[in-house]
């Protein structure tokens, strides 16, 4: 049977067909849909959202020791978080097969960097497979489990955004029964990395790498396709498809396994074709390693950028150098951009309005709220990785001393806080920081499309779960008086944040406003607000909240004057179809020109 699947759906299907028993992940674009698909479609697999990628990988490590085939999925930067267990997991190897799926994000569609995780395979001395479409995504996951058990190694499979979020036709098969039995098997010297045991294991993994090199020579997923023998391209993953698209008549060495590399096969290809080019996205990973073997390709990264995503046009342009006439656009006018922004009614907007007013330095974090760095909000001042807001704010406070008092805030979402913010908040409490930490608790993992986490009260399968209370947790971490605010009530939010900024002690504010798109959290939405066109002077105070429901519209003639004779060039307009009625704009209008349609104004929503 054939079906159209995205790369992520195909990876999930591959896990099912391989007989995977345990799958764990933390959501992250472009990897999120793998676990979502597993939890929805393949209910016999135990699946979980772990608090972070390190935990997810440790869960699969445990499952593997117990004999289960297990899968950990994460975005590229998630592997950094999981790198600590991973580097040593390579030493201990597996019992049941273990696969770490990394989904890289060339072009940074939704990420903070575009690191090339092929480097991790070399670094950790483990094999890596790289599919070039949905069919291979499924096939390589299955194969990865076999290789994992055969060579006693964790295996990496690398996807990229264009594999994970592209769809193609996949042939489905029935699941297999994995060969390793489930059970407790003690083998202390293999699984306990004391220095004396680890020294022994290091020798084992070097030998393992040699065996994997032999496997790579014979692996049919590394294949030579001879067409025109004058030009040959070595490529892997999505880059292979781009090259094949524009140069169907060239010869190819298509690598399905990108680490370790098959030296003899590469040599054979260099013998069979005259000029060899290496086409790869991001780092010159294949190129450097092939050059280190002594081969001399005609071209590689001198033809293609290290930055960003490749596509058929860039591959053609790189290969033909100047021979291609550059693409002529039909229209050249500058169009208004359409960046992503915070939704109408978003609870973050109220907090950001207050922070802007208080002119603080806002150390930011990873999530929808990073968008607060863009105009017109311009509130977030820094962000590097999950959890960095808190340590960053604390470090600034320590460096600034008196000079920074009342000016340093760390802003972090609920899911991000539980992922990597607990330890830095512990530091704030332990080492007494005056920085004010604000948890924007919207009760979900917003940016990746609403996944559960340990403070939502539900598991990935929708079962009820323990729900972490941020106030209690704050107390436990050494914050004496953590506070809650309703972020849609601006006066309350400003009052509380101001008081907390004035304190010379660790402080924590929990902004309790569910994501406006999280339907289950709302009893109802409110009636949309309306602009009183007789009163509005067009000052843009409400417009500058950056709410997609509010626009500024130019007016002429009779409309260019208010009821009491003030001149105006434009007025605000609220699109009723977009406005959920949060009333934040109502509160910022000093002229009373925004009207509530409720019996009396409601600052926020009736939530569950």
């Amino acid at each position: 049977m054939k079906k159209i699947l995205s790369g992520n759906e195909a990876i999930a299907r591959g896990a099912f067909e391989a007989g995977v028993k345990v799958a764990a992940a933390y959501p992250g674009t472009p990897s999120t849909e793998i676990l979502e698909t597993i939890s929805k479609e393949y209910k016999d697999i135990y699946s979980e959202w772990s608090p972070n990628e390190k935990v997810a990988l440790e869960v699969t490590y445990g499952a593997s020791m117990a004999g289960a085939r297990s899968l950990a999925c994460m975005k590229h930067v998630g592997v950094n978080v999981a790198a600590d267990p991973f580097m040593t997991l390579s030493y201990v190897g597996v019992n049941g097969g273990l696969v770490l799926l990394t989904a890289d994000d060339p072009e940074l569609y939704s990420s903070q960097n575009e690191q090339d995780n092929r480097n991790y395979a070399k670094f950790a001395k483990v094999p890596m497979f790289e599919p070039s479409d949905s069919q291979e995504a499924k096939d390589f996951i299955k194969l990865a489990f076999e290789v994992s058990e055969r060579f006693d190694t964790p295996v990496m499979v690398r996807s990229v955004t264009r594999i994970s979020h592209a769809k193609g036709i996949v042939e489905l098969q029935d699941p297999v029964i994995p060969p390793v039995p489930i059970g407790i098997k003690k083998d202390t010297a293999k699984y306990t990395m004391l220095p004396s045991y680890a020294r022994v294991r290091h020798v084992v993994i070097e030998e393992r790498l040699l065996k994997l090199k032999e496997f790579a020579e014979e692996f049919p997923g590394n294949r030579i396709e001879i067409n025109d023998p004058h030009i040959g391209i070595i490529s892997a993953g999505i880059s292979y498809q781009y090259a094949k698209e524009v140069f169907p008549n060239h010869s190819y060495l298509k690598l399905g396994m990108v680490w370790p590399l098959p030296k003899r096969l590469i040599g054979e290809f260099f013998k069979k074709v005259k000029k060899v080019y290496i086409v790869e996205e991001l780092d010159p990973f294949l190129e450097e390693n092939i050059r280190a073997m002594g081969f001399k390709p005609k071209g590689g990264k001198n033809l293609f950028s290290m930055c960003g995503e490749l596509n058929p046009f860039l591959v053609e342009k790189g290969m033909l150098k100047k021979k291609i006439k550059s693409f002529k656009p039909l229209f050249k006018e500058t169009l208004p951009p359409r960046p992503p922004n915070l939704c109408p009614g978003c609870p973050h907007r109220g907090v950001f309005h207050v922070l802007k007013k208080l002119k603080v330095f806002a150390s930011g974090d990873i999530g929808c709220y990073t968008l607060g760095a863009y105009p017109p909000l311009n509130v977030i001042n820094s962000n590097i990785c999950m959890g960095s807001s808190i340590g960053g704010a604390h470090g600034m406070a320590k460096a600034l001393g008196e000079q920074g008092k009342g000016k340093i805030v760390g802003v972090i979402g609920d899911s991000t806080f539980l992922h990597a913010g607990v330890h830095p908040l512990m530091d704030v409490g332990y080492n007494r920081s005056y920085a004010t930490i604000i948890i924007l608790d919207n009760r979900t993992t917003g940016m990746t499309g609403q996944q559960e986490h340990p403070a939502t009260g539900y598991t990935i399968k929708g079962e009820k779960a323990h729900r972490i209370d941020f106030i209690e947790l704050g107390h436990a971490l050494g914050i004496e008086n953590p506070r809650k605010v309703n972020p849609w009530n601006l006066e309350e939010t400003e009052q509380v944040i101001k008081e907390e900024l004035e304190k010379d002690e660790p402080s924590l504010v929990v902004s309790e406003g569910p994501c406006t798109l999280l339907r289950r959290a709302f009893k109802k939405y409110n009636k949309p607000l309306q602009v009183d066109s007789t009163k509005c002077v067009g000052c843009k105070t409400c417009v500058n909240l950056g709410c997609p429901a509010i626009s500024y519209q130019l007016v002429e003639g009779e409309m260019a004057v208010t009821a009491d004779g003030k001149k105006r060039k434009g007025i605000a307009y609220i699109e009723p179809g977009l406005c959920p009625g949060c009333h934040v704009c109502y509160q910022v209008c000093k002229l009373g020109a925004i009207k509530s349609q409720e019996d009396k104004p409601i600052f926020g929503f009736e939530t569950v």
């Binding site: 939704s110 781009y242 058929p312 693409f327 039909l330 500024y552 130019l554």
Partner: protein, 196 residues
């Protein structure tokens, strides 16, 4: 079967159903016996940003991305996005555009103007242009969200694929309570296009 691959670039704004529409096209053309590939970017685009989906079908499709300047059809769900992506079209390409505008932030803030007379502008350079009242018709039928199905109805007119296959594929992904509405939306869309 035609050996050549057909490239359709679908462009719109987050929330308009661009991805669902290209998913439906993929199913339709797979059922009709073609190899299909499609690609889009999720993630931050959900927050009111630009959404594009590259959809390709043919005998054998390699790249999930359309080469710049080689789209055969630009299927635009919004006027400004139509103008933005028109450069990806071949000189003799076709445009099927929803007659609908959604202001981007810079326009809402009063910093930039929404480009004027987009349909006329495009038509002056590209003759194979079809403006479809997708959002208007959907609203008249009772639900603005059915605009993507009106548009699918319109684009379906250009292919020799049985209309029953289109309709069945569309209804398969929608809950039964909206089947009636979407059946009407699909045929209203087909009626928007008269192909000689």
């Amino acid at each position: 079967m035609d050996q050549k691959t057909t490239n359709i670039l679908v462009a719109g704004v987050g929330g308009q159903g661009v991805i669902l529409a290209s998913d439906i096209m993929s199913e339709v053309f797979m059922e009709a016996g073609y190899d299909v590939k499609k690609s889009e970017v999720h993630g931050m685009a959900m927050r009111g940003g630009i959404v594009t989906s590259h959809f390709r079908f043919g005998k054998k499709v390699y790249s999930p991305l359309i080469k710049e300047g080689e789209a055969d059809i630009l299927f635009a769900f919004e006027q400004l996005e139509g103008l933005r992506w028109v450069n990806h079209l071949r000189p003799d390409g076709k445009i099927v555009m929803n007659d609908h505008k959604i202001n981007p932030p810079a326009v809402n803030l009063g910093e930039m103007e929404y480009p004027k007379a987009i349909p006329e502008k495009i038509k002056s350079k590209l003759k194979d242009f079809y403006l479809v009242k997708g959002s208007e018709i959907a609203l008249q039928l009772g639900d603005a969200r059915a605009a993507n199905v009106v548009l699918l109805g319109a684009i379906s007119k250009f292919f020799e694929v049985n209309e029953d296959l289109w309709l069945k594929t569309i209804l398969d992904v929608l809950p039964p309570k909206v089947h009636d509405l979407n059946r009407k939306a699909f045929f209203a869309g087909r009626d928007q296009i008269s192909v000689s």
